[in-house]
């Protein structure tokens, strides 16, 4: 009742589309509220950048747009895998589902590795959260985003461990949609953070 059967869906089925919206409304509420907190982060970043343009330009020059861009690509691909996993869940294809969840987790771990390289570069170059306004924003916002990635990875791992058979998958379609949504939000926020912190001159 709560699941969406992609095969049976047609354009005229608009009634059931409204009834069967993906994930629970509570997940949407969580995600939207979290995105509002991140919106404040973006606002603070732009505000402080306007206050200290020189410090921010100098700080941005020390960042590696290559590593940041690599992480963007990794997260975009992982988001695609997560979307595919949700689609597999809706048709109860357990093999494809587990494969895509594993691929998503793999990409998430790759993101962590790149982030580790990036942070240790900054630490060994002598920059930390207390260096100046730029690094305060850089480390707090990307760090808070990293916390979201780690949370998302634990949700994905929970899905992998609790969904081993097609029967379990039938129980977990809503949960998969919720975790998928969360993972897309992590991706979406990184897209803005990457452009804002690494690229915008």
């Amino acid at each position: 009742m709560n699941t969406i059967n992609v095969d049976k869906m047609t354009a005229s089925d608009s009634e059931s589309l409204i009834e069967h919206h993906p994930a629970e409304i509570g997940v949407w509420l969580f995600i939207f509220a979290d995105m509002c907190i991140f919106a404040m982060y973006f606002g603070v970043f732009v505000w402080e950048k306007n206050l200290n343009p020189a410090i921010f330009a100098e700080g941005q020059a020390t960042l590696s747009a290559q590593l940041g861009g690599l992480n963007t690509v990794i997260l975009l691909i992982s988001s695609y895998f997560a979307a595919k996993a949700v689609h597999s869940a809706r048709v109860f294809n357990i093999d494809a589902y587990r494969r895509f969840i594993k691929l998503t987790i793999f990409c998430g771990l790759a993101f962590l590795c790149v982030k580790f390289v990036e942070y240790s570069d900054k630490f060994s170059a002598g920059f930390d959260i207390a260096t100046n306004a730029f690094y305060r924003n850089y480390f707090s916002f990307t760090g808070f985003h990293l916390l979201h990635v780690i949370l998302g990875l634990s949700f994905l791992a929970w899905l992998l461990f609790s969904t081993k058979t097609a029967e379990q998958l039938k129980e977990n379609v809503k949960a998969s949609e919720g975790v998928g949504l969360y993972w897309h939000m992590v991706d979406l926020l990184w897209v803005v953070l990457f452009s804002l912190i690494y690229l915008v001159p």
Partner: protein
């Protein structure tokens, strides 16, 4: 099934007492909230304590009495949660224990600030030290409250009864509040004012008011549902 109305009445009284005593003491009488900037000079800090000596001690005393009323409120929450859990009510006990941690870390700084205000002729360095100690202790530890909310959310999401004790979206909102209070460990890094200082946008305004928003919504739901809750739900499942 026990009658819930007395519990809800006690919880509401506790909530009202906490609000009046804590908000009145901290915001109105002592002027400690919203927090002063961490960038204040030593002279400004000392003159704040010297000029408001009596108001500070009165307000802080009221506020720490107010924090005590959070305990009945949280324990009643655990009573509702324990009915959902099977076997040992792990999350309910954890929620109540973390409530104790929250209360302690909210009340302890008041005694430190009171000490700062206690002897007006104390040397200025020591007053500034106690001031900082109090603020760092007040603003940094959010884990107790975050764990409380996570426990509530876990139990709320496990609640498969037709009338769960809170609506499912309130569980998700609780998780969001737990994420919202997460940046407070950044407080000790920043001496200058900014979004992560102890009076900052994320570490005070979001971290302090998002839990309050959640509790206000909870009590609005309880108030809407107060007449029909003999059936075993706290705030009604349709909302």
């Amino acid at each position: 099934m026990t009658d819930r109305k007395p519990l809800i009445i006690v919880a509401t009284i506790s909530m009202v007492m906490t609000t009046i005593l804590y908000a009145g003491g901290m915001f109105y009488i002592s002027g400690f909230l919203p927090p002063p900037s961490p960038a204040l000079s030593q002279i400004e800090v000392v003159s704040f304590y010297q000029q408001n000596h009596t108001a500070i001690i009165t307000g802080l005393t009221m506020a720490f009495v107010g924090t005590g009323f959070m305990l009945p409120l949280c324990v009643i929450g655990s009573v509702f949660m324990a009915e959902v859990e099977e076997g040992f009510p792990y999350f309910s006990v954890m929620q109540a224990l973390c409530a104790l941690a929250t209360v302690i870390f909210t009340a302890l700084p008041n005694f430190i600030w009171m000490t700062a205000a206690f002897r007006v002729d104390r040397s200025p360095e020591l007053i500034a030290l106690l001031h900082d100690l109090g603020w760092i202790m007040w603003a940094t530890p959010s884990w107790g409250f975050a764990f409380q909310l996570i426990c509530v959310a876990v139990v709320g999401l496990k609640d498969k009864r037709p009338k769960p004790f809170i609506p499912r979206w309130m569980s998700y909102l609780a998780l969001w509040v737990a994420v919202g209070v997460a940046p407070t460990p950044l407080v000790p890094f920043f001496v200058e004012a900014g979004p992560f200082a102890w009076n900052g946008l994320f570490t005070f305004w979001v971290a302090f008011f998002s839990p309050i928003l959640w509790i206000i919504i909870l009590f609005v739901l309880i108030a809407i549902n107060i007449r029909s809750n003999e059936q075993g739900d706290l705030v009604g499942s349709r909302l």
